[in-house]
C-alpha cells in the first residue's frame, strides 16, 4: 500500500495505491494523519483510483480520515473509486455519509 501526497494548503490530494485491508490499514491511517499535520489543508481529497482491493478495513480508514479532516475544519471528498471498492462502500451504506465523486 502506498500513499502519494500532492497539493497545498487549499487542497491536499492523497492517492492510495495497492490493497487496503486490515494489514495495511494502520500504516495508511498514520500516513494520512501525517500528511494532514504537514499540509493542514482546507480540503482533503482521497483519490482511490489505484486501489486493487478494499474490504471493510478501508471503511474504518476512510471514516478516520474524515474525522481527522473535520477536526482540522477541512472538508473531505473521495474520488475515482474503482467499481469493486465502491461495492464495499455501498454494501456498508458508507456512500451515504461520505462525499463520493
Amino acid at each position: 500500500m502506498t500513499l502519494t501526497a500532492t497539493g497545498n494548503k487549499d487542497l491536499l490530494r492523497l492517492r492510495l495505491d495497492g490493497e487496503l485491508d486490515h494489514h495495511a490499514a494502520s500504516g495508511t491511517v498514520r500516513s494520512i494523519e501525517e500528511a494532514l499535520r504537514i499540509y493542514v489543508p482546507r480540503a482533503l481529497t482521497l483519490d482511490l483510483s489505484g486501489l486493487a482491493f478494499m474490504d471493510s478495513s478501508g471503511i474504518a480508514v476512510i471514516l478516520k480520515a474524515q474525522r481527522r479532516a473535520c477536526e482540522l475544519g477541512a472538508s473531505m471528498t473521495i474520488e475515482n473509486v474503482p467499481e469493486r471498492p465502491r461495492r464495499v462502500l455501498e454494501a456498508a451504506g458508507i456512500d451515504r455519509i461520505v462525499n463520493l465523486i
Binding site: 485491508d21 486490515h22 482491493f53 474490504d55 471493510s56 478495513s57 474504518a60 454494501a91
Partner: protein, 145 residues
C-alpha cells in the same frame, strides 16, 4: 449435495496472512470459472472472516486459523473459516451493522459485507472455544464461447 473438490490451509493469525488467505481461496474458486466480480466478492468475504480471527479471536497472541474451501455439485462454493480463539459472546449482536469491539480501527461492517457478498452465512461460536464461519456462494454458469 455431493462434494466435487476440497482444499484446506492453516496459518498463523498474522495480519500478513489476510492477503494470502483471500488469494488462495480465489485461486481455488477459479476452477468454477467465476466472473471477476464473483471472484472479488469471494476475496472480500474471506478477507473479512480472516480479519475477524486476527483481530477478535486472538487479540493478544498468535493462534491457528483454518480455511477450508469446498466445491459441491451445481457450482456451489463453500468456504469455512475457523479459529480456536476467544469466541463471540453474542453472535446475533456481532452480526449487527456497525457493531464492533475493535475500537475506531474497525468499522463493524465485516459480517454485513460477508452477508452481502455471499449467498449464505452461518456463524457458530463458543466463548473461549473459538468461532466457525461458513459461507456459501453459487457461481453462475455462463455460456461457454
Amino acid at each position: 449435495m455431493k462434494e466435487i473438490n476440497s482444499a484446506r490451509i492453516e496459518f498463523l493469525s498474522r495480519s500478513a496472512n489476510e492477503g494470502f488467505a483471500r488469494a488462495a481461496a480465489a485461486v481455488f474458486a477459479s476452477q468454477l470459472d467465476p466472473t471477476l466480480d464473483e471472484l472479488s466478492d469471494i476475496k472480500t468475504a474471506v478477507s473479512e472472516a480472516v480479519t475477524n480471527c486476527v483481530v477478535h479471536a486472538y487479540p493478544d497472541e498468535l493462534g491457528k486459523i483454518l480455511v477450508r474451501v469446498r466445491i459441491f455439485e451445481e457450482s456451489v462454493l463453500e468456504i469455512t473459516v475457523r479459529d480456536w480463539g476467544r469466541g463471540i459472546e453474542d453472535v446475533q449482536k456481532a452480526r449487527e451493522p456497525m457493531f464492533t469491539t475493535g475500537g475506531e480501527e474497525r468499522s463493524g461492517m465485516g459480517f454485513t459485507i460477508m452477508e452481502s457478498f455471499m449467498d449464505k452465512l452461518r456463524v457458530r461460536s463458543l466463548p473461549g472455544r473459538g468461532t466457525t464461519v461458513v459461507m456459501r456462494r453459487t457461481i453462475l454458469q455462463r455460456e461457454k464461447k
